[in-house]
């Protein structure tokens, strides 16, 4: 249990995907202008990320490894992710049209979110087992969503700020992200592995 907790804390706070590992930055910068949007994106990503973390683990260990096809990992994973995303969309539409309305537009964006493929690849690199992969994927997603939502709230406050012209928009967003990363460095050493 402690082990899972440590993995979770590590992925959410210490090695946050966005601020430390630099994965998933495009949607981070792109869909963080409004709090509501950011929440939708966070929810959708959490679901897809956790699911694809587990599925990619299975693919790696039951499809690629037995046949010695590890070198085709990237292809297998990305196709898998595309499928998962497509499916999520479909399932959502069937199960809850309301939720689909909220999340629908974000789902396609997730295919090209580095974090999803990144989690799959890192699971392999860190030699996680199934349960670890699941926690790792979930933790990464929670870390992603947390930072995304906090960032969106900050950017909303920036709307009235007197930001110098050349820095308005993306640059000041990046500066904010930078100072967030600086603050998150305070968690360094929280989990010693």
């Amino acid at each position: 249990m402690t082990e899972f907790l440590l993995i979770f804390i590590s992925t959410v706070l210490v090695n946050n995907f966005l601020l430390v590992k630099f994965l998933g930055l495009c949607p981070f910068m792109g869909v963080s202008r409004k709090l509501e949007t950011a929440m939708g994106m966070g929810l959708a990503t959490t679901f897809v990320l956790t699911l694809s973390s587990v599925l990619s683990y299975l693919t790696q260990n039951y499809l690629l490894a037995p046949f010695g096809l590890e070198y085709l990992r990237t292809i297998a994973f990305i196709v898998l992710i595309a499928a998962v995303v497509n499916f999520t969309e479909m399932a959502l539409k069937k199960a809850s049209p309301l939720l689909h309305n909220v999340l629908g537009i974000y789902l396609p964006l997730i295919t090209t979110n580095c974090a999803v493929l990144g989690v799959a690849l890192l699971n392999v690199q860190e030699e996680h087992n199934l349960a670890q992969a699941a926690v790792y994927g979930f933790g990464a997603a929670v870390g992603f969503s947390l930072v995304l939502v906090l960032f969106a709230a900050m950017r909303e406050r920036l709307a009235a700020a007197d930001v110098p012209k050349p820095f308005a928009g993306t640059p000041i967003g990046l500066i904010t992200a930078s100072l967030m990363a600086l603050a998150f460095m305070g968690f360094a050493g929280l989990v010693k592995v």
Binding site: Y71, L72, I75, A188, G189, K192
Partner: protein, 205 residues
């Protein structure tokens, strides 16, 4: 739902998969031996840096896992690479762990010659504070070269400490923990070699 469409779709996708995978698989066949060679070469370069010069075997290939031992860091995963000249063992490279760095474990490769003298040490990975604990890296400072030529009696046990603790090894300004941990780990590796010399000389992977 149009079934024909679906089948067609999947066929198109399959066709492109086939194409892509074939190309990659072909590429893989071509590069596989090269990659293996590159990986060996990289490891060999590392080993050569710490092992005493003049071996003629492939130390990368003569690798053996070592059982857990506090002297090796106590976290498992310790390895030993043996260097030989002919049948004669000229030294070992031990992959050990310094468990008590400032921010966690420091992974080391410690080269020891057959006489039990350090022939070279390298840090493989660490999480110490950049700018404070990282002079242990070879690329950042020469500090790590300070071990070369030292053995168990030279200096004596008291000397195997950082200067602040009365030993002979330098610490860094503002950072004692990291060098302390490394010195201790190297010393422990020497002790391990001393205690298991016979075993190390004989064992073959």
């Amino acid at each position: 739902m149009n079934k024909q469409q679906i089948v067609l779709t999947s066929l198109v996708l399959a066709a492109f998969t086939l194409l892509g995978v074939s190309v990659v698989a072909f590429m893989h066949q071509q590069t596989e031996p090269l990659i293996q060679a590159q990986m060996d070469a990289a490891l060999n370069r590392q080993l050569a840096a710490v092992l005493p010069a003049g071996f003629d075997n492939d130390p990368a290939a003569s690798v053996r896992a070592l059982p857990d031992d506090v002297l090796l860091g106590g976290k498992g995963g310790a390895l030993v690479y043996t260097a030989r000249k002919g049948e004669h063992v000229t030294g070992w490279a031990l992959r050990v762990i310094a468990p008590n760095g400032y921010s966690g474990a420091i992974h080391l490769l410690v080269g020891v010659d057959a006489q039990g003298v350090v022939s070279g040490v390298r840090v493989i990975s660490h999480k110490e504070t950049p700018g404070l604990g990282d002079p242990i890296e070879e690329s950042k400072s020469n500090w790590i070269h300070g071990f070369t030529g030292q053995g168990l009696g030279n200096p004596d046990t008291k000397g195997w400490h950082v200067k602040k603790d009365g030993g002979v090894f330098d610490q860094f300004t503002g950072a004692t923990i990291t060098p302390r941990a490394v010195v201790q780990a190297v010393h422990n590796a020497l002790l391990y070699v001393e205690q298991h010399r016979a075993e190390l000389l004989e064992a073959r992977p």
